[in-house]
Symmetry: C2
Subunit: 463 residues, 2 copies
């Protein structure tokens, strides 16, 4: 028999990892609920036609498709047709519904849009939903990139109020504050990027400009200049861009300078106004004691084909951590239009669960007690002592203390080895003396210190 | 554009449903943790070879297989080979790794066994794990049967101690007690079923006998007699079976009668001894105030090819509910042997999450507050009043009250309609008077009663 394995790019989550992941998900869930967001879960399988064409050509390639069942039970005369369909699978990326009509969820956004359209008559708009589920992509696996990974999204659809932008910024602030991750939230507007392209005299080149600008961190201004030239921006335009991205100061100072530089572009002034209003709502809602920063950053780009207003991105702001963005989002105008429901504006943010996990590991910021689960094990000395141990076990659990009894009457060393491997904080030794005196001996596994105490004292100590 | 839909047999879980499901899962998770069980999560995709042949021929048919990616990018000369492989997909149920090498998880048991074998050197045995994840089966969808549904399993492997059986019975007891579902736990041993076949003089017909007995509830003793005859059991044997299943009294009385009837079958006495010990451990651990019952039931059969010792099943014990078993399990001897690790005994139980959900609905036993999430909405009167509303909103959330502000300055009726649809318990009306007096008007949505109070009074009332 060959050794069992799991598919490339997938992971088993061991107990310690599950607990740490639950810690992240529970922290986020509690915040979403506090902010009045509603949970949604959609099926892992969607109809392939729901997903196809929504993620670009590359996305279509990476969708995991599910083979229709019962193909081998088809009648002989149907097999000619099946073979024709098979040819389609081999020759086109879009496959054939006779061979595959279902596929695995590729993100949470398209299923959300599909759900909203299907349930538009029952939903209360504005609809504020959060969703935390795995998605699957047939990407080439590499460090930090998996074929099964979790997404976590929060969106508000059916409202154009900038209070929504502010609420989502507060959710970011609150989440990273509670998770104790120092972050910088970058904020921009697609409208400022459009205005920038107008200032260059090339409104049609907005995407070229932003793709180049997006690399500022990596290749510096000289690199960006070179790329802008290659993309056909004139020197006068580059001069304009240089002025805009050179603005300094706090957010208010930046917005004032932008108002001057973009005084003649209505779309720019609109974007500046929206940023200003969002930040003003935000400062009314946010926690003043928060350590993180929020910063207007005109070079922030993010999936331009999709967003239409404010865009945001979160990066970890610590020397100890090297990591790309751990969250991002923005306003979009017509997501549900893909499925026939026009004119429903929305704004959303997502949390990169796997990256947040890695950041917490690097910062050593997971709560210590997540490691072991039950923190006390009762040693099993058998016979009368086993019966006594069981009564102690029951009373500990009745008091809410997570506890376990070693189930077999094994050698003491073997039982202690188990307790050690399970990272137990304490063991209880219910032997003859303890049973006769109706006491428990509690041993601190780290220090080796041992004391014989009443059960109530033991409960108080363990709680 | 055609109307969007989801695949047959799958479900979207709306906010109310997600909250109710979370309530079930959280209740179970807390109990597992209290009992020292450890969480495990495995990937949705397994290698097809891991799953094939583990669930019988019918199971193989129902596994969802994933089409390999990039098939349409193969070179022309590879397509001959691909077409040959495609023929295999059409002609055999076991498919072809060139066309499909991955499949969706079909249950939690095989991935658990696979995980234990892969991680045997790191794990602390006995390994107590719980797992709550969706599984997928290409069954024909019907009422209560889905193609994507959740399983929840708890197992202990690496220990033959009957304390484990007792612990799992206590977990059942504790779970259904907390969920407020009245249940009967039926318990039996595969060894008693083997003894019964011996008593009939046909030890090789154990499965025939149990398959017939399993129908006692449905077809009555006359029906069972008929089926036993058809399956080749002599009248003398049927007489023996009749005696055994006619035993009455409490569990101890039943076990005593069985000891007499099976006095000459060593395997029967072994089974009786194991049941007796398990029940004795159970009574030491279980909550005496529990309303449910645990009952030795010699007609209980359950997946015989798999189990080797104690078997259990849970049914809802209420006139209001018609439902099959909502949980079951038992001891098995060689699960990990499938993947090359021999001799690891285990015992496990599972919870039928979807059925438990339906039972809770039928009993109307879900906690009332799960419905709406946030229980208060602030009406948005715009301008100065909006600013005041935001400050109230912030203070409510700081005090831990889940709250939301209607984000747009919409007509009053529209905002109230939203609050009603969202099943809000309260609305807050932050108007001119409230703002000037720095008070809030809190309106009970059900009674219509409205009072103007301080923010602190409002917080106290809402918490």
């Amino acid at each position: 028999m060959s050794k069992p394995s799991i598919p490339q790019g997938t992971r088993d989550f061991s107990p310690v990892v599950v607990r740490k992941r639950q810690y992240i998900l529970n922290t986020l869930r509690d915040i979403f609920e506090l902010y009045g967001f509603q949970p949604l879960e959609t099926p892992a399988m969607e109809n392939l036609v729901t997903l196809t064409g929504k993620y670009g050509e590359e996305g279509d390639r990476l969708i995991f498709k599910i083979l229709n069942n019962g193909l081998h039970e088809k009648k002989e005369q149907d097999k000619v047709k099946l073979n024709e369909e098979w040819d389609k699978v081999l020759s086109r990326p879009y496959s054939s519904p006779v061979v595959t009509e279902r596929a695995l969820r590729y993100d949470l956004t398209i299923p959300f849009a599909r759900y909203v359209v299907m349930n538009q008559n029952e939903l209360a708009f504005p609809f504020r939903r959060y969703q935390m589920q795995p998605v699957w992509r047939a990407d080439r696996p590499q460090a930090g990139r998996y074929r099964e990974f979790w997404q976590c999204d929060a969106d508000v659809v059916g409202s154009t109020s900038l209070i929504n932008e502010a609420e989502l910024l507060c959710i970011y602030q609150s989440a990273f504050h509670q998770l104790q991750i120092p972050v910088k939230i970058k904020i921009n507007s697609r409208k400022l990027l459009a205005a920038l392209a107008e200032l260059c005299g090339t409104p049609e080149k907005m995407i070229d400009i932003t793709v180049a600008l997006d690399k500022l961190d990596k290749i510096g201004w000289d690199g960006v200049t070179k790329e802008l030239r290659e993309r056909g921006i004139e020197d006068a335009g580059i001069e304009q861009i240089s002025k805009v991205i050179s603005i300094t100061g706090d957010n208010q100072a930046k917005l004032e300078q932008l108002s001057t530089l973009m005084a003649n572009t209505p779309i720019g002034l609109e974007g500046i106004g929206e940023l200003s209003t969002s930040l003003s709502y935000y400062s009314g809602l946010a926690d003043a004691g928060w350590g993180g920063t929020i910063e207007v950053d005109i070079s922030l780009a993010r999936g331009l084909n999709y967003y239409t207003g404010v865009i945001v991105e979160v990066v970890c702001d610590s020397d100890k951590v090297k990591m790309g963005s751990i969250g991002g989002g923005g306003r979009y105008d017509d997501l549900t239009g893909l499925f026939g429901l026009k004119g429903l504006s929305g704004v959303g943010v997502s949390f990169g669960i796997d990256r947040i996990y890695d950041v917490l590991e690097q910062l050593d910021a997971f709560p210590a007690q997540l490691a072991s689960g039950a923190k006390v094990m009762l040693v099993n000395f058998g016979g009368e002592n086993e019966r006594y141990a069981i009564s102690v076990l029951k009373q500990l659990r009745d008091a809410g203390v997570a506890a376990e009894l070693y189930p077999d009457v094994a050698k003491f060393d073997k039982q202690m080895k188990y307790a050690n491997k399970r990272a137990m904080a304490y063991v209880i030794l219910p032997g003859d003396e303890e049973r006769e005196k109706q006491l428990v001996s509690l041993k601190n596994f780290a220090t080796g210190a041992q004391q014989m105490i009443t059960l109530q004292e033991c409960v108080d100590l363990l709680k």
